[in-house]
């Protein structure tokens, strides 16, 4: 079975899907990515689907699961490079991919991840500074 490689670039993990994945390959990717997030401590994942000429309900669901699992492991996921025809088809299929962040390309995806991480760290600092005030 083929495997989709997960690359560590700086503090993000980059997955570039270059093959027409069998369902098992998509499930394997889901597992590999979760492992790699834990091992590397990366806080961001970019999934580049610019080479995919279709996204069906299975791949769509896999992307959504990856995003949720990553979130639980303290990493944000951005799906980048979706082709216009794929976007049109996905919407007509009825898949709105809730909870999935998207960007047009890898570069914009990286920017988005950096912004989110910055905001997250600011929020953390705020919580540290202000003593917890109970409102009730």
């Amino acid at each position: 079975m083929e495997r989709v490689p997960v690359l560590k670039i700086g503090d993000i993990l980059l997955v570039s899907i270059q093959i027409d994945m069998e369902d098992q390959v998509a499930l394997q990717l889901q597992e590999d990515l979760a492992d790699k997030i834990v091992v590397t401590g990366c806080h961001g994942v970019i999934i580049d689907i610019s080479a995919l000429d279709i996204v069906d309900s299975f791949v769509g669901r896999t992307l959504a699961t990856i995003a949720s699992v990553s979130k639980v492991l303290d990493a944000d996921t951005v799906v980048v490079g979706m082709r216009p025809a794929v976007a049109i088809t996905l919407v007509e299929l009825g898949l709105s991919l809730p909870g999935i962040r998207t960007a047009l390309n890898v570069e914009l995806g990286m920017k988005l991840l950096a912004q989110e991480r910055e905001q997250y760290e600011l929020d953390l600092e705020d919580e540290d500074e202000e003593p917890a005030v109970s409102t009730r």
């Binding site: 027409d20 994945m21 069998e22 369902d23 098992q24 000429d53 279709i54 996204v55 069906d56 309900s57 299975f58 769509g60 669901r61 082709r83 025809a85 794929v86 049109i88 088809t89 007509e92 299929l93 009825g94 898949l95």
Partner: protein, 139 residues
């Protein structure tokens, strides 16, 4: 990889594994390009075929897909007939409802595939099996 150039009238693929679902997608894509469907329509018919091939495998217990070039006298198109001898679909209206699934999926395959094609015919009998025919015409 399939090398079919879409010249033959029809091609049949057995659907008994994950890999066969990929094979169906590739075959449909090859023919969709050969009959010159627009890029969006190619994407739609390949996506619909992927959904139906997976249903044939998962719920139908395997079966086959017959991919053919069709012509209605005015324009060419592509037709795919999926057939299995599985359990059949007891309540078709329900199965065609967005979100209805008996397999923990998203319940979008059948209803979504119907939206993505020009013609959608389904023939199913409990205990006998299911046959689904989808057609996409060039514009």
């Amino acid at each position: 990889m399939t090398t079919w150039d879409g010249a033959a009238a029809a091609e049949r693929v057995a659907i008994i594994s994950d890999q066969d679902v990929v094979r169906v997608r590739q075959l449909v894509r090859t023919l969709a390009v050969a009959v010159k469907l627009s890029l969006v329509d190619q994407t739609k018919i390949v996506t619909a075929a992927s959904e139906l091939a997976r249903n044939t495998l998962v719920y139908g217990g395997g079966g086959n897909a017959e991919v053919s070039r069709v012509d209605n006298g005015r324009k060419p198109g592509i037709r795919i007939v999926f057939a299995d001898e599985g359990p059949g679909i007891p309540d078709l209206d329900l199965a065609l409802t967005d979100g209805y699934t008996t397999g923990g999926g998203m319940g979008l395959g059948l209803s979504g595939a119907r939206r993505l094609v020009d013609e959608f015919e389904i023939d199913t009998e409990v205990g006998k099996g299911t046959t689904i025919s989808v057609t996409k015409w060039c514009r």
